[in-house]
Symmetry: C2
Subunit: 249 residues, 2 copies
Amino acid sequence: MRGSGTTPDPAPDPASDLADRTRPAALARLLRREILTGVLPPGSAIKERDHADRLGVSRTPLREAVRILAQEGLVTLRPLRSPLVAQPALEEVLAEIAVLRRLELFSGELACANATPAEIKAIGALVAAIARDHAQGDRLDVFDLDMQMHRAIVAAGHNAALMRTHGEYLARLFRVRFLSARERADAARVLADHDAMLRALQTRDAALMDAAITAHFDGLERNITRLLGPASGPQADEGAAGDAGAAGG
Amino acid sequence: MRGSGTTPDPAPDPASDLADRTRPAALARLLRREILTGVLPPGSAIKERDHADRLGVSRTPLREAVRILAQEGLVTLRPLRSPLVAQPALEEVLAEIAVLRRLELFSGELACANATPAEIKAIGALVAAIARDHAQGDRLDVFDLDMQMHRAIVAAGHNAALMRTHGEYLARLFRVRFLSARERADAARVLADHDAMLRALQTRDAALMDAAITAHFDGLERNITRLLGPASGPQADEGAAGDAGAAGG
DNA sequence: GTGGCCGGAATGGTATACCATCCGTTCCGT
DNA sequence: ACGGAACGGATGGTATACCATTCCGGCCAC
């Protein structure tokens, strides 16, 4: 394409799937990563000129990238002022988790009703992969696979709108879910939840699915409340996610 | 043709307040209106140069406006090709309605738990206003008030994320909900549903709220399936919303 | 000493010129 | 006569110059 470009643009990104082709999407991915890993701390300004220059692109595509991140909730736009890296309060995060919970509960119902054998099989493979990687302590892979699994369940519901909205909430809560996934205390429960979800699909047991998802989200809310609740209100947890994610760079 | 002051105005941004002032937002509102009223029919291309010239702005803000509409689902973007006015299939519309139903069910639960007396009173006023206007045959006012009421219930749940996502779905389904609202056959049921919702709030009766919302959406799905199901598929219903939308206010 | 006003720098918003890609058409070759 | 490759127009994507607004620092008046 453009000879001069030489954007780093490497492959491994946990968050998004279809973003490969357009430049704003690639920039959004890059910035998203920097936000989620703490390179761009919450509350910091994203000046168009600076970052466009830094990334070797013009302001136009960078601007679009910022808009994408804004709609994902990772940055907040202010008229005539620099966009800021979002700094969601615990209350707002919990509100989003509550919605995500409902979305996944709905997905679970739909999946139990509509999932094809092939989809169930694929989800089973993901569950197995998660358990395997977890045994090896590969937290990042586990996190990625976990997200894939949840996406697969939603996809198995065969509701395009639900998939889209669910994906938005996953992106929005990426950081917070990452923080929760670092907690290994409840690993056994998480794996049990996954297993229950799989069995629910196999037996078309909507009630079991509901229970498993509920347990999963109860755990997530518990972790988040503990991690963000007491100490950190505004100034989140910088170093927390920093080392783990920064590896990609 | 449209009076300047009296925009029906789907107002798809319940959460973000800053939508009024910026130029792309204003352009998006304009284009949204043209799409929903059928001036820009589904499937038609939105050429940046043409519309920018027509509206007397440059391509840059118009481009942003198109992106806004794309995220609302009213237009579909294609890489390196003109954006198209979206042409959702019945299946996709039903999928979105299914999600909206879940969002409102959740809202209903939250509202029953968290609504303040003042909020309940305001919702009661809306219910009364709807009944009154309906008796006078003022369909457009009814439609607008109905949307306000649903928004108010969601707002009474005090979950900002839910309000935002709910607003997105309302905007996305604006046209289809409008079509349904034109049907007066089930008017009595609609009014009964509203009354039941209000009573549910007043008595904090989550089960009743659930039943009322379910009935409401069953009716919506029935209407939509009947209206869009047999004949129209791809080429929707142009003239339908065209003249009616003009009067709003 | 303090408060208000003014001016310049910084920065997002907009306009516009240029480039890359896609599509329809045409023209050549078989 | 038909098919494919090349040309040209149309159109979205990108870069960049310019404008408007905001913020901040310093100056002046009180």
